[in-house]
Every structure is written in structure tokens, then in C-alpha cells.
Amino acid sequence: MTCVRPDSSHLAVVPAYNEAATVGDVVRRIHADAPEWDVVVVDDGSTDATAEVAHAAGARVLRLPFNLGIGGAVQAGFVFAREQGYDYMAQVDGDGQHDPAELDKLVTHMREHPELDVVCGSRFIRDNEHRYPAPISRRTGIHIFAFLLSRFVRQPISDPTSGFRLYNRRAIRLFATDYPHDYPEVEAILMLHHHRLRMEEIPVRMYARGGGQSSISSGKSAYYMVKVLLALFVGLFRRRPLPEPGGGAPVAAETGI
């Protein structure tokens, strides 16, 4: 395990929607494998015992009063990280897909490359050794996004939907102000590019879901594909990608017409 400077602080954000079956293990594994990380679970309006399980496992819990979707939940984590002044924030999914032992790899990579603002764990860099078991429909979508994004940002992107990412303070500040809604990871890459924040992928291992239901069923994923594609192309033509200080508030529409 790398030596972590005691003066920097790390926050692991675990978005969870009805993940009572797995979220406790995820929290315990982060505590065990990455002890210098604080854990905050964002309970995205779950109807099961997600919040209680997470709290019992020793995490701080943000309970959203109703379901916001993954983007809104993770953004709550960004706001939390910004307000509490964390140096680094990482997203670790509540379904056990991400391996907390790999958090260290992300941090080490960012320390070695201080110019980076985001380090993203990719399932697809290391190809044959550890195939990620995703349904073919989903993989096709991921590769389409990867192809488009790589051209938009002129940098190879292999796994645009991976949520296993490490953010520094600049990136935390950006995404606390504005974070996309569905499949936010894809659009977030474009936002990073627009704001000249740097991102790099490193290979990580990921597991199939430990239990519970994915928030994205196959029928819905086609719908999300179209929605995200729209968001990507519109995002390309956005005049001011980020609400600047003194500009309009980060809200979908201005007042009036």
C-alpha cells in the first residue's frame, strides 16, 4: 500500500439506490482495503434499508428525500466533498462492481501525474486478461460512446461509462456546480474537455454486480443511449458549457421565456 500523505483527505462516495444487500459490504471493504478514505453513502431515495445498513457499516449517509437518479446522487457527493474541503473524491458504486483495493492505484497515478484532474478506472484497457462480463447490448453502447468521445476530446477513451473515478479539487468544484443526469460519466468527459481539465484512464478490475437490480434495464438502456447522444451533441454546441461566476444559475432553463 502506498504511503498517503496525512495532510490530504480522501472521500469515497457510494451512490446507492435500493442496494441494502450489498452496500454494507462495500462500505466495510472500503474501510478494510482503503482505511484512509472517509466513506459517504448517498441513499438515492431508496425504499429499502440502504441508509440503515450503510450507517450501521460505519459510513456517513446522505439521504436524498426522493430518487434523483445516478447523476443527482453523485452530485450530492461532489457538493459534500466540496463543502467539507476534501482533496480527493472517488466514486465507488454501491453494488460491489468496483474494487476498493484499486482506489490506491488511482491515487498513486494522480500523484505521479500532478497535471491530471481526473483518473478514471477502465475495464477495457487490459483486454483479454480480465473480460468484463457486461451484456452485449450494453457493451455495444459503451463502444459507441467511446468511439464518439475519443474523437470529440481527441484522446483515446476506452471506458466512458466507468464511474470508478478519482477527482481532485478542481474537478470536485466543477462537478459540484454542474453534473449531468443519466449516464453522467459519458457527458462528464465532455465537460472536462470543455473546461480544459485533464483526464486519463488506467486499467482496473471490475466485478459483475454483487446483487440487487441494475438501475438500467436493457429496454431503458436504448432510451438512455439516445438521450445521452442528444446530450453529447447538444453539449458540443453549448456556448457556455459551465455557468460562470456571475452568470445564470446552473438550472436547466432561465426564468421566463
Binding site: S9, H10, L11, H31, P35, E36, D38, V39, V40, V42, H55, G58, A59, R60, V61, L62, R63, L64, P65, F66, L68, G72, Q75, A76, V79, F80, R82, E83, Q84, G85, Y86, D87, R173, A176, P245, G246, A249, P250, V251, A252, A253, E254, T255, G256, I257
Partner: protein
């Protein structure tokens, strides 16, 4: 144009206008949302009453039967209003998202403070960085629509 259809159109448009005004008067409709309704009612009323104008409009865009121009204008306003509402709903959705996030953050802080007041150990083991408020000016989250500190 047939006189009867003109009469119906005038009564309809005037009724709409009065109804919107009444809603605003009773504070059932915000002025912000009433404006577009008032505008559409006024334009429709104007076109219904002023036959010559309607006929000229119909000629200009190539509509053979002038009353159809009236329907066309009404339909255009309906589309505009619907788009307006979609925009309003988007804004509300985004605002309620921000509110939900604030509520979650505040609730967590309250729980933490209460736990600390009761003298329990904080739930999160080693919540080191989370101890002091590490806010600089730029880090303060401002409510939606508020003017930012840097404006001043």
C-alpha cells in the same frame, strides 16, 4: 368570412382573455405564466375582430380560407405555450434536485451534530478532514438564482 364564425371567434378569444385575467386577479396564475396566455388571447381577439388584417395575413402566407389562418395562429400559440411549460418544468426539476441535495446534506449535518451533542463517537471512523469547516469564499454553495458573491 362568415359573420357567425367571426362572432364565435371573437367570443372565444374574449372569453379566454377574461378568464386569464380573472385567474391572475385571484392569484391562481403567476403573472410570469399569464403573460404568454394574455398575448395569445389578445392576438387572437385582434385577428378575429379585424377581418381585413386576418385576410391580409392569410393572403401573405397563402391560406385560401382566412379563418384557417386564425386556427393556424392559435395552434402556433399552443405549441409555444407547451414549449414554455416544458422549459418551466425543466427548471423546476433542476431546482428540486438542488433542494433535495441540500436537504440531504443538512440532514446529515444535523444528525452528526446531534450525535456529537449526545457525546457519541462519530459514526464514520476517522472522519478526519470532515472535522473543521474548510470553506473558502469560492466553496460556499449559493442557492439557485442567487447572485454570487463575486458579483458585488
Amino acid at each position: 368570412m362568415d359573420n357567425r364564425i367571426q362572432l364565435v371567434a371573437i367570443i372565444g378569444a374574449a372569453g379566454l382573455l377574461l378568464f386569464v385575467l380573472e385567474l391572475v386577479r385571484r392569484r391562481r396564475l403567476l403573472e410570469r405564466y399569464a403573460l404568454l396566455w394574455l398575448l395569445s388571447a389578445l392576438v387572437l381577439l385582434g385577428l378575429a375582430a379585424w377581418r381585413d388584417g386576418l385576410e391580409r395575413l392569410a393572403n401573405a402566407v397563402g391560406i385560401a380560407y382566412p379563418p384557417n389562418a386564425l386556427f393556424f395562429v392559435a395552434f402556433a400559440f399552443v405549441l409555444l405555450l407547451l414549449l414554455h411549460f416544458s422549459a418551466a418544468v425543466s427548471r423546476l426539476a433542476d431546482q428540486s434536485k438542488v433542494l433535495a441535495q441540500r436537504v440531504a446534506l443538512l440532514e446529515e449535518r444535523l444528525n452528526e451534530a446531534e450525535r456529537r451533542a449526545r457525546g457519541d463517537a462519530p459514526a464514520a471512523e476517522g472522519s478526519s478532514a470532515a472535522a473543521g469547516p474548510a470553506l473558502d469564499d469560492e466553496d460556499v454553495i449559493e442557492p439557485v438564482g442567487a447572485r454570487r458573491a463575486s458579483d458585488r
